[in-house]
């Protein structure tokens, strides 16, 4: 099973099993707690996140560092830029 987490981050949130828009909400809440420049990873098993999370990061003006596919979930890594 692919379970290697590649990019190290300041904070990691496991939102697997959480329903749309749960993982996105966790990401938004998590971003609020980070200082500018901080990095955050969110694990999501919601297929909607594949589009929703990058769309939110782009809209909010942050930086998507990685989208790491795993067997049953995806790990999204973002940096807070403002």
């Amino acid at each position: 099973m692919l379970d290697t987490q590649t990019l190290p981050v300041d904070k990691e949130i496991d939102a697997r099993g959480s329903f749309c828009p749960g993982p996105l909400m966790e990401l938004i809440r998590g971003m609020k707690t980070l200082p500018i420049g901080g990095t955050l990873a969110v694990l999501s098993s919601d297929p909607g996140s594949l589009k929703d999370i990058p769309a939110w990061i782009a809209k909010a003006g942050h930086e998507l560092l990685a989208t790491e596919p795993h067997e049953l979930y995806t790990r999204f890594v973002a940096r807070k830029t403002r």
Binding site: G17, S18, F19, M25, I28, R29, A55, W56, K59, A60
Partner: protein, 138 residues
């Protein structure tokens, strides 16, 4: 000025409330202002404490109501009420109650959950809706 979504919330069944609450969350997340105008059965859904006991689903799908409830509980899907709290937490969600319905049902703002911001008429809603990018009737 932020873009805006205006929803007329006419329904008071949990299936439609769930759809409205998720759309409100998405709009709030995408940096839009959200206007909810509660009228008719939408007012019923926001009466004090009603969200705790309301299990109604749309008549057309009545037979699926209990299955939907069980699935949501088993998969820990957030209720429409929880989604709405989340939308308010991350964004600007404004909730107005229709004065005509309140009068018809003999209610005041005090009879509704504190999440409801004010009582307005349809003209006030229209004034907001005319400048909205997204308008929905649910």
């Amino acid at each position: 000025m932020k873009e805006r979504m205006s929803i007329v919330l006419f329904s008071g069944t949990v299936d439609k409330l769930l759809a409205a609450s998720i759309l409100a969350t998405g709009a709030a997340a995408m940096d839009m202002e959200v206007d909810l105008f509660l009228t008719t059965w939408g007012i019923e859904a926001f009466r004090k404490g009603a969200y705790k006991t309301n299990t109604r689903v749309s008549r057309d799908y009545e037979e699926y109501g209990s299955v939907m409830r069980e699935l949501m509980a088993a998969k820990k899907a957030p209720s429409w009420w929880e989604n709405l709290q989340g939308a308010k937490e991350i964004g600007d969600v404004h909730i107005a109650a229709c004065s005509m319905t309140l009068e018809l049902f003999g209610l005041t703002l005090n009879d509704l959950e504190p999440v409801v911001d004010e009582v307005t008429g349809v003209a006030t809603f229209m004034e907001r809706a005319r400048n909205s990018k997204v308008t929905l009737f649910i």
